[in-house]
Symmetry: C2
Subunit: 731 residues, 2 copies
């Protein structure tokens, strides 16, 4: 691990000379069943471990950083200056979310470390006196990084551990370049793992379920030709959130929280030692991060429970993020939306106005192809549908010039974000939408050219404000510009946050597609409603699609970081494509259930108005289902198999249940004991028909109405690839 | 040269199979003494040569491009489809310049080339019938790039040759990545050469004079520690404009014109074959340029004459640029300016407000160091001086927050370009400057973080417009962000042009420091008054300075591309620095002469008001000398030795003469036959005192007044490192 022979020699000498002094006592912190242990090993290297009850979660694993310049190794020869301990138990209210209140309950252990002089005089050893650190008492720097300080902060929750590195203000370290982070997660067994490749530019892979020792992404990366940009140089690297299940039935999820000014952490898998090592996405010149002390890394998170449902109920990631940074949030409104989008995904229409990118007609204008979806008449048709069906927003893609030639050429100036195609009458459309009470959602596809978007951002925002767009969907399809940067690197991390913050300043909500996967920053920027950053429903349109188990895995992986714009609600599940065998890999009822199981404050009703028109009875659930919640109960869950969730609408008395399964049929039993005592409710059950199955008969559903109370339980039969959705509203 | 064994084999087969057909006839074009010859060699490789009278300038040299992807070699196996010839002789008027009228006189030869099928059927050979190319008649692509077309356009002027590659619209090439340009300049001898290293990020080196075969920049690059960023991976690469002199007294200058959407061309020197090869500055991932056919490269320029003065008088670079792209230009005003700048360069004051970058005082504000130059009182003092002395503008550096911590850390968000330090009262200063008729010049230092500048540009421009700043000096000290990009790469080329164009839209003039060296784009963007991009006078303040010959070389090299903000006018030539031996390497009179010899429409009077106050008689020349001209006569010149130029002020009857020498004293004889017949003029001669010399007695000058007419001649004695300036105004 980047140890030169000289460093190894020095370390060896050090361990021989003074190892008895450097080995510090073990520090522990515990809450409920979760216990964190920390110590410095014989080389003064920070080591931690995590257990859950009597079960090991993380075996002793090293911690540290690697700096680029002189005295670069920042992972050993430490002495413990002292520790701080605090405990917190508070409750806060998110602007929107799965529950009205979120409890933040943890004990915190901060270990203050200092690198000792190496082979020199005056190096401290062992535990320094006192448990606090005076900021005025920094030791003088010396050879081998002597005197440099680092803190590691652990927060132990009832459902896991978060920790981060903090570099305090000090003379020895100011600006520095991070060449590596050395965090390890030594697993206690060869766990069953739900993983996608550690790709620098895409999270849009299907999940593989395998033992951790079997991780090898090469074949999957090579085969995934439907993904626009794939850069996965390490075949043994996986993306986070990484979901695992031990042979003893423990569920472990590793991710990160509050990823700010830092690259995404992927995990390199050493299958022989069962060790995961942080692998930061590099920048254009191979560096990992440019930092300025005082500073800290994002939180590294380990969520753990013996119940899978607890993983989905965990709020640890949100708790580790900073509170809202916005001056006001009353302008932020979760909503459902429809879009001029699926018709392009399925080939009915086009984003581009012309099929002749380099050609102009006799008048000097683009030659229209006659199939351009974002035309004024079509947009008005969608506005009418939204207005008639209580759908809050309308997204229109392909409205602005540039789609003839937008992708694949690493071209910087693709779109200007303000010039509509000639058949898109922005004034007429804005006026019409306003008159119908429908919010227009802007679409800013960058084609991966983040520099161009930043250049145009003021102009793009000015356009949105002028025409009354209060939400924007951004996109990053393609290789990133600045060239050499990656979707998941530090530069783009800062870019996404910059854009979200600028949108917030201008009271614009944002939904990012093809970004870095989220890490709970929606708490800090609550206008950042959703992201894609995973394999969405769209892959059923333009590629081989998503296996029936896909939606049972996503909540355990990608959604641990934040809401996903998965675009559920496809009703026409076959026959939308000319490609033989192409179909959505769910039943219609499961599409409804996703509005509950796949949490997002921004939920699309993704299918075409005409396809909804054929099933308006089923569409009623989409009309009714909220996108913001006072309460959430994860009733049962098993990654890769099934999820059943009940949620109570924000400010409502009604509950909504979603139950989904993988390729196997199953019966979900839903005790209704979350209902109010003594109250009667009307339950409308949208379920698979008895003969439904995702492959052969996906659109067969039944709608049943029952009167229920808290003593009742619903028995929901789910078809293979099926699901059920239930609205339960009081009489 | 990037030829794989396979390509070599194919080429060999081709030459054996069909070389007799591929060898096309020689095409020539001539104007005056300059003759251009072109042919395809036995491998269908384009070859050109240039001669001047009977002297060879460029021996037969190859031409071509290397594309990145399949069929990448675009330099051989060509057949000649035909040639076009045109002739142009027009005159145009620059918005500002060295002369009122500029004649554009050339003959143009366009050769239309097509790559033949390699070893396949149907490949054309020899000269295709007809001399025109129908755009509808593109040959179908085939193996080995067959059918791909390229034009090479040569313009032959009386003072040299320009040529460029043009890729027409065609099916076989659309978007492409350029991995190399293969242009060569095969020299006819081991010429005396004035060169600086081919550095990707800096032009601020002192010039070396050596034979071309002796070029080796390694030691100079290593020693030039005063240059902030040095990236010169090829020790045999030199920057352009490259000035050479043959043993036979021919002067040859190689550069480029109209550098748009392309990296700068440096020249790799093969000292054994005396061949220069284009070496394009790479981007972050090693590519050279991203292009989209139809497109063309910049012009490659060879200026040649047997008189050195003709090199300085050449307008070829401007003629090869496009006319003004601006909607209006009446708001563009060449001007002189002073600046709060030299006092920081010399250590009297500081850019930064605080010396404690990471520290705040008890009130939470920065701790002032008491030496911050950009404070309101000091700014008003400069405004007063400018107003009293007919100096049009005032530049203030260090006015905005960020200077505590602005450089050297590859930090992205250094400045916001709008937040003044607490002691800089922008409103009071703007009001005061307006009341005094002095134009405030904005300063936007980017620290090399171009991404940050683009992000803030709208805001920065809004600030300028709000406070009435009509000119801006930009700066790029430091490694470029996007990281991995270079000052001289394609991305930054587009950046500089983007910024200049945005400034033009907002009627703001621009002066760029640390940019790419200019290539005549000031014709297209006449608000782009000047650049630095060379070793300016400032090196006399903070480093070992510039040799006395330096200013006799710059007009032959860097200034061939466009005006330089050299910042002349230093009057206190010694004692401004605590560093022993540090002094300006000229006399005071030479500083005056530079206002004439170092052309710029934006000329700084760089010294402090108090230093000017000690020599107000000499300062009178700076007050008087224009910055825009109706006519220019280069009276005598030899690179590295001396330059004498006379210029006639724009719209004036007065003439101004500047004469400078290197470290040797000399006598410049100036016939005044450019004066109007029968008219008497008052000549004020600012010359070195008889005992002056740059090293021991630099500030000794004499001012003499004489009455002269066109039959007179001035005899100007120049001290070692000296000069003379003369104003000649009619009675």
């Amino acid at each position: 691990m980047l140890i030169t022979p000289y460093q190894y020699f020095v370390a060896l000498c050090l361990s021989l000379l003074c190892c008895s002094g450097v080995r510090a006592q073990q520090e522990t912190a515990q809450l409920g069943k979760v216990k964190l242990s920390f110590n410095l090993d014989g080389q003064g290297e920070p080591v931690y471990s995590v257990s859950y009850g009597d079960q090991p979660v993380i075996l002793p694993s090293r911690l540290g950083l690697q700096l680029k310049d002189v005295d670069s190794l920042f992972s050993r020869w430490f002495v413990l200056l002292g520790v701080d301990r605090t405990a917190v138990d508070t409750t806060w209210q998110p602007v929107w979310g799965e529950t009205k209140d979120i409890r933040d309950h943890y004990v915190q252990l901060t270990v203050h470390l200092r690198q000792g002089a190496i082979g020199g005089a005056g190096g401290s050893s062992g535990l320094a006196a006192g448990s606090g650190v005076s900021s005025g008492g920094a030791a003088a720097p010396g050879p081998g990084g002597s005197g440099r300080r680092m803190d590691i902060v652990f927060r132990v929750f009832e459902d896991g551990v978060g920790f981060r590195y903090e570099l305090p203000r000090q003379a020895g370290i100011r600006y520095f370049v991070l060449s590596d982070e050395l965090t390890q997660f030594h697993l206690a067994g060869d766990h069953k793992t739900f993983w996608i490749p550690g790709d620098y530019d895409s999270n849009e892979y299907p999940y593989t379920t395998s033992k951790i020792s079997e991780v090898d992404n090469a074949a999957l990366v090579a085969a995934s030709t439907a993904i626009a940009v794939r850069v996965a140089p390490d075949r043994y690297a996986v993306q986070t959130p990484l979901m695992m299940k031990t042979a003893d039935g423990l569920y472990i999820n590793i991710h990160e929280a509050a990823l700010v000014n830092y690259p995404a952490m992927q995990l390199h898998v050493d299958g022989s030692s069962l060790t995961l090592t942080s692998a930061l996405v590099p920048d254009a010149v191979g560096n990992k991060a440019y930092l300025h002390a005082p500073c800290h890394t994002p939180w590294r998170t380990i969520i753990v429970s013996d119940k899978a449902a607890d993983i989905l109920s965990s709020r640890m990631i949100l708790n580790l993020n900073e509170p809202s940074a916005l001056a006001s949030t009353d302008w932020i409104h979760p909503m459902k939306f429809i879009g001029i989008w699926w018709e392009m995904q399925t080939g009915k229409g086009t984003w581009n106005y012309s099929d002749y990118p380099d050609s102009l007609g006799p008048t000097g204008a683009l030659i229209p192809n006659g199939r351009h979806s974002a035309n004024t008449a079509n947009v008005k048709r969608y506005i009418d549908f939204a207005a008639a069906n209580h759908i809050g927003g309308l997204l229109v893609e392909g409205w602005n010039v540039g789609w003839e030639d937008w992708f694949g050429n690493w071209k910087e100036n693709v779109f200007d974000f303000v010039t509509p195609y000639p058949d898109f009458d922005v004034r007429a459309i804005s006026d019409y939408a306003r008159s119908k009470g429908v919010a227009m959602i802007m679409h800013n596809e960058t084609s991966g050219s983040a520099t161009n978007y930043e250049r145009q951002l003021d102009t793009a925002i000015g356009f949105m404000r002028r025409w009354g767009y209060t939400a924007v969907k951004t996109g990053y399809v393609g290789r990133i510009i600045p060239r050499g940067e990656h979707h998941d690197g530090q530069w783009m991390d800062n870019h996404y946050i910059y854009v979200a913050a600028r949108m917030a300043e201008n009271h614009i909500m944002i939904d990012e597609h093809e970004p870095m996967r989220p890490t709970g920053l929606q708490r800090t920027y609550p206008n950042w409603l959703a992201c894609e950053a995973a394999r969405g429903n769209e892959y059923n349109a333009f590629a081989d699609g998503n296996a029936p188990e896909h939606e049972t895995i996503l909540p355990f992986t990608r959604l641990i970081g934040g809401p996903m714009d998965y675009t559920p609600g496809i009703f026409r599940l076959r026959g939308y494509s000319d490609v033989p065998g192409r179909q959505v890999h769910t039943t219609l009822a499961k599409q409804l259930a996703l509005y509950v199981t796949m949490y997002s404050p921004l939920q699309m009703a993704a299918d075409l108005p005409e396809n909804y028109a054929a099933h308006m009875d089923a569409f009623q659930f989409i009309r009714d289902v909220p996108v913001d919640w006072d309460d959430t109960k994860v009733l049962e869950a098993e990654p890769g198999d099934y999820i059943t969730i009940a949620r109570k609408g924000k400010g409502q008395d009604g509950w909504y249940v979603g139950a989904i399964t993988d390729e196997h049929s199953r019966t979900a039993t839903v005790p209704l004991d979350f209902l109010d005592k003594g109250r009667r409710y009307k339950a409308i059950i949208y379920r698979d028909a008895d003969n439904a199955d995702w492959k052969g008969n996906p659109e067969a559903y039944m709608i049943e109405t029952r009167t229920v109370g808290r003593q009742d339980r619903l028995t929901l039969k789910l078809a293979p690839g099926g699901g059920a959705a239930v609205s339960i509203t009081p009489f």
